[in-house]
Symmetry: C2
C-alpha cells in the first residue's frame, strides 16, 4: 500500500492522524524556512508542509529538490491549516511531513499541468498522458464513464441485453468507406471493421433477443472534418415487436434519465416535429430550439414590389434577431460579410430594424413601405427592438444559409447556454435522397429503413416523396441519436434494394445472409443508435468531443502520441499476401 | 405495441384478463376440433388454445396453417389450464385466442429450435440467428451480459473508471501477430488492431487515472486452435500506487463477488502457490485443484533398483488415482494407450495397485518389493483402493504428460464438477523464457513486467532465474486472468528491452512513446486482465466458449453466416494503395 488516503479526502475530522499519501507535485513554494507542496492525484490536492524547525533536515533538503510532476510518497500528521482555503475539499488541513520518498523523478513537462494550460492542441496530443492529468480532460473522461454506466444500468434494468457483435466483418460498398483488414488465413480476402453493428442487431432480433444494446466502437474511413474521428462510439439499440411510438418512448426515457442523473435536470416530454417542419422552420434537420428566431417565409409579401432581387428569387426568408435593432452600421456590415463568406455563400442580405417606437427601417425602403415591412415583422414574429434579417435565392441553399446565420446570431447573442438542454424528436425523414453524381436514389438512413406504409404507393411513381419510419433525437442543435423501424419483410427488402439500384446479384452477395434470415420468421423491429462521443460532450457542456476521448486522432487520422499509422515489416505484408503500391 | 405481456409472465393471477402476445410458433398440436400452440419469445413459452366451438372459424382455419417459427400476434383471454404444467412458469394458464395475426411467415428451419437440437455445429453457425433462438445459446448470452454488468458495477463502485482506448493503433513485431489495417490517408502506412490495451493502460496510469478498467475486444492473428477466436474480449484493469498484494486483493474481491452474485457460491480466501510449486505439484501453471492427485516425485526411491528405465530417466513421477485399484487389465491398457498417443507422447507407463488389503502390486514387481512400493504410496499419498500411475523421462516433458494424465483421470472419475469452483493464485512467474529458435530470451508475460527486486542481481548472470512480480488467477484448470506489476523506471525498462534483444533503435521506434512517458513522472503501477469469454464459459459450467459469443468465427477465422472475410473491390484496394499478391 503506497497510501492510506488519497489526496482528495482528508478534512478537519482527520486532524492528528498519521497518514501516508502518494501523488504528483503540483507545485511547491519554498520560503526558505518553510516549504509548502501541493500534492495531486486523481481525487484532489492536499497541501504538504515542511518546516525547518519541525522537519528532519535530510527530508527538508530533499523536499527542496522536488520538481513539478515528481512522484512522491509522504508520511506525516494531519494538522489544521493556519489560512484555510474554503474552495478546496482539503482546504482545512495540511500534512506536516515526517517522511518523504521520491517514487519517480520527472522532467519538466512540455506544458503546464493546470486547468488553463499554456500548451497548444498539437503538443497536448503528443503528450496526451500529461494532458490527461489536467482536470478538464480527466474530468471529461470520468464524466464519460459515469454517462456510460448510467446508460448501461438503465437499459439493463429495462430488460435490454448487451451483446457483443464482431469487429471483423464483411465489407459492403454501400454507405461510407470501410476500413479493411487483410486475412492471412484466407488469401486475397479481407475483413472490414463495422461502420455500425446494423445487420447484426437485426439478426439478433430475428434470433429472438428482443431487446439488444451495445456500447460499441464503429469505424468510418472518411476524410475527417473537424471533430470527426475515424473510430467513434455508439450506443446501439434494437427492439423487437415494437412500433415507432414504443421506440420514441423508450429512448426518450433513457435521455430524460441521463439528464436527471448526470445533470440534475428534469425535462418535459420531448417536442416532436417532422423533418419537413424542421426544414421549413429552422432550415435544418437538427434544430437548436433553446431559442426562437424561427423562419418567416416572405415570398408572398415581398414579390411584385419592384425589388428585382426578391422577384428573381425562388425563396425569400427572414428571421427576427431579438434586441438587434441597436446594431450599428458596422456591426450589420460585419454580419453581411459573414454570410457572404464562401462557407456560407450568400450573395447579400437585406435587413430591417424594428425601432422601439414601432417604426420600421429597412435597407430596401425604396421598394417597401411601412405597411409591407409590418408584414415582415408579423411573419417573422419580430417585436420592437428586434432586427429582421432576410436572405433569398434557391430554396434549399437559402434555408441552409439562414440556418447558419440563425446559429451564429444565437451564439453572438449568448442564446446557446450549454447548461440548458432542449431535446426534441425529428420524425418522418424522407426514405430516399437523390444523388446527382450517381444518378440514382440513395437511402437517406440505410437500406433497411421501413417506408411509411401509407406512402408505399409512391414507390413506382414518386419514390423521392416516400417518408420513412425514421427519427432523429436532437439536442441543442446536434443529432445525438437516430434510428428507424426496419423492414422485416423479405419481399419489401428486395424491392428496396432494387430501388437503390442494386442488382439481384449485388443484393444477394452483400446482404444475402440478412434476406435469408428474413425467411425464417423475422419479427417487426426497430432501433436507434446514439453517438456517445457527441452525447457526452453536449451533456458536459462542451462544443468539442476531443476531450471526452482518451486518445483521439488528429484530422489526418493520426495518433501523434504513438505515431500511428506507421510502415510495417515486409514480412508482415508477405504473410498477408499484399503489397504496397507506390504511386510516383 | 405488439403485445401487452411477454410469453414468460402470465400466471393464475391473470386469469380472465384480455391480453395480447407476440412471438414465434414453437410447435402446435392439431386435434381436429382443438388446436394448441406453444408461443415462444425470449422470456418463455405460453400455451395458446383454439377451440372449434369457441373460436371464430376464420381464425381457427388460419391457426391450422401456421408452421413452426411463424411470427404471430394473438389476442385472447387468459384461462385456467385443464392439465397444469408445474415445470413451466406459465403452466397454470393458457390463452383462449380470439384474434390471430401472422406477422411473418417462416420457412422450415434447417434444424430444430429445441434445447437439444438435431443441427450440427456447421449448420448452426451458418444460421446462427436461428441457433440464438435456442435456450442454451440465448441463456449463455444473457448470462454473459449479467456477468459483464456485475463486473462493471463492482469495479465502478470501487472507483475504477472505464476508459475506451483506441482500436486503430500501431503494429509492434513483439509478441503474437497483429491484424493490420491499411491507412488510406497515410499512404503505405498501416494501423494495427490491439492485442491488448497494455501500453494505453500504462499511459493512463502515467496520466493519473489511478484505477482503470475496460471490457474490450482484442485481436490476435494466430492460427486458431480449438476454442480460440481471432477476436476475444478482455476485462482489462490497471491501478497506480499499488503493490502486488493490493492487486491480488482487489481482483480476488471481484471474482469472489462474481461467484456470489452469479452462482450464489461463497468461496474462501484463494490459495496462493508459486509457479515453481505449481509445476512441481501439478506439472502445470494452471492447476485444477478441485481434486488432489498431486505429483509425488519418485526419483529418490526408484533409482538404483535395477530397473533400467527409471535409472536412465531424468525424472520419475507418480500420482495416486483414487479408487482405481479396481481397474481391469483392459482399462489399464487403454490408459497406457492414451498416454502413448502422439498428443501426449509418453513412451510407457508403470502402475501399482494399492489393494484394499494393504498389499501393493505393480507392473514392475520384478524390481521393486513391498517396502519400495510402500514408499511410492507414501510419496504420492495413495490409500488402499487407489492406483499409482508412474511416468518418467525428461523433467519438463514428463510433468506435462503427467499433468494431462491427471486431468484425464479426473474427468473419467467425475472429479471435475462444473458446479464446483476452486480459484487460486499462481505467483512468481519467471520473467523470461529462453527461445531455442531465436536463441534469445523472450518476456514470459510481456516486456513491461517488473522483475522481483530481490532477483535483479541475476540480470547479468542468470537472467533465466529472475522471477517476475507476475501472477495468474486460475479457476478449475484454466487461466482466467493474469497480470503483473509493471516497470515504471525508464532505465530499468531500457535494460529489459536490451535483455530481450531489442536494439536501442528498435526499442525507441516501437515503445519510444512509453519510455518517453516514463520520464514525466510515472507512478508505481500494475494490473491484470481477465479473459471474459473463458471466464463466462467456466462460470456458466461449460467447456467451450463458443455459445457465449453471439457470432463466433470458425477455426479458419471465417464467419460462415455472413461469409467473411471476402474479396473486395479493386477500387477499394486502389484507394488504399495496396494490391493482392497472387502466389502461384
Amino acid at each position: 500500500m503506497f497510501r492510506s488516503y488519497t489526496c482528495g479526502e482528508l478534512n478537519a475530522s482527520h486532524i492528528n492522524q498519521e497518514v501516508t499519501l502518494a501523488g504528483w507535485v503540483q507545485k511547491s513554494r519554498d520560503k526558505g524556512f518553510m516549504i509548502w507542496i501541493d500534492l495531486r492525484d486523481r481525487y484532489g490536492i492536499t497541501q504538504l508542509i515542511l518546516d525547518e524547525n519541525r522537519t528532519d533536515k535530510t527530508i527538508f533538503e530533499k523536499a527542496k529538490s522536488l520538481g513539478r510532476e515528481f512522484v512522491i510518497q509522504v508520511k506525516g500528521t494531519v494538522i489544521e491549516r493556519e489560512s484555510k482555503n474554503p474552495n478546496m475539499a482539503t482546504g482545512e488541513i495540511e500534512i506536516l511531513v515526517s517522511e518523504l520518498t521520491i517514487l519517480n523523478e520527472a522532467q519538466l513537462p512540455p506544458f503546464t499541468i493546470e486547468d488553463e494550460t499554456d500548451g497548444g492542441e498539437d503538443i497536448r496530443m503528443k503528450y496526451r498522458y500529461l494532458d490527461i492529468r489536467r482536470n478538464p480532460v480527466k474530468n471529461s473522461l470520468l464524466f464519460r464513464h459515469k454517462v456510460a454506466m448510467e446508460v448501461r444500468n438503465y437499459l439493463s434494468n429495462q430488460g435490454f441485453c448487451e451483446v457483443e457483435t464482431p469487429y471483423l466483418i464483411k465489407s459492403t460498398p454501400e454507405g461510407a468507406r470501410d476500413f479493411i483488414v487483410p486475412s492471412r488465413m484466407n488469401e486475397g480476402q479481407f475483413y472490414a471493421l463495422p461502420q455500425s453493428p446494423q445487420t447484426f442487431k437485426q439478426l439478433l432480433m430475428v434470433g429472438g433477443m428482443d431487446k439488444y444494446f451495445q456500447i460499441v466502437k464503429c469505424f468510418r474511413d472518411e476524410d475527417l472534418r473537424a471533430d470527426r474521428q475515424p473510430e467513434f462510439t455508439q450506443i446501439d439499440c434494437e427492439m423487437a415487436f415494437v412500433e415507432q411510438e414504443d421506440i420514441l418512448n423508450q429512448f426518450e426515457g433513457l435521455t430524460r434519465h441521463l439528464l436527471k442523473e448526470v445533470k440534475g435536470i428534469e425535462v418535459d416530454k420531448f417536442p416532436r416535429i417532422t423533418y419537413e417542419y424542421a426544414m421549413k422552420t429552422y432550415g435544418n434537420d437538427k434544430p437548436d430550439i433553446r431559442f426562437g428566431m424561427e423562419f418567416g417565409e416572405l415570398n408572398e409579401v415581398t414579390k411584385h414590389k419592384d425589388f428585382p432581387v426578391f422577384n428573381a428569387a425562388e425563396f425569400v426568408v427572414g428571421i427576427a434577431a431579438p434586441g438587434c435593432a441597436s446594431y450599428t452600421r458596422k456591426e450589420i456590415d460585419a454580419l453581411i460579410d459573414w454570410v457572404k463568406r464562401p462557407q456560407i455563400g450568400a450573395t447579400g442580405m437585406i435587413y430591417c430594424k424594428y425601432e422601439l417606437d414601432g417604426s420600421l427601417k429597412s435597407s430596401v425602403d425604396k421598394f417597401f413601405d411601412q405597411e409591407d415591412l409590418k408584414k415582415w415583422a408579423e411573419i417573422t414574429g419580430a417585436k420592437p427592438g428586434d432586427m429582421i434579417f432576410v436572405l433569398c435565392g434557391n430554396t434549399d441553399k437559402t434555408r441552409t444559409q439562414m440556418s447558419a446565420l440563425r446559429m451564429e446570431l444565437a451564439t453572438r447573442l449568448g442564446l446557446r447556454n450549454p447548461n440548458e438542454f432542449a431535446p426534441l424528436w425529428v420524425l418522418d425523414f424522407p426514405l430516399l435522397e437523390w444523388d446527382e453524381e450517381s444518378g440514382r436514389y440513395h437511402a437517406m438512413h440505410h437500406p433497411f429503413t421501413s417506408p411509411k406504409p401509407e406512402d408505399l404507393h409512391l414507390i413506382g411513381t414518386e419514390p423521392g416523396k416516400i417518408r420513412a419510419n425514421a427519427y432523429d433525437m436532437v439536442l441543442n442543435g446536434n443529432e445525438i441519436g437516430g434510428g428507424s423501424i426496419r423492414i422485416h419483410d423479405k419481399d419489401l427488402q428486395a424491392r428496396m434494394f432494387e430501388l437503390l439500384g442494386f442488382s439481384k446479384e449485388e443484393a444477394e452477395n452483400q446482404f444475402g445472409f440478412l434476406m435469408n434470415a428474413f425467411q425464417y420468421g423475422a419479427p417487426p423491429h426497430g432501433g436507434l443508435a446514439f453517438g456517445l462521443d457527441r452525447l457526452v460532450a453536449i451533456l458536459g457542456g462542451q462544443e468539442t468531443i476531443r476531450d471526452f476521448i482518451a486518445f483521439p486522432k488528429n484530422n489526418s487520422g493520426r495518433d501523434v502520441m504513438i505515431d500511428a499509422p506507421s510502415t510495417i515489416d515486409d514480412k508482415q505484408l508477405e504473410e498477408l499476401n499484399i503489397s504496397v503500391v507506390v504511386n510516383n
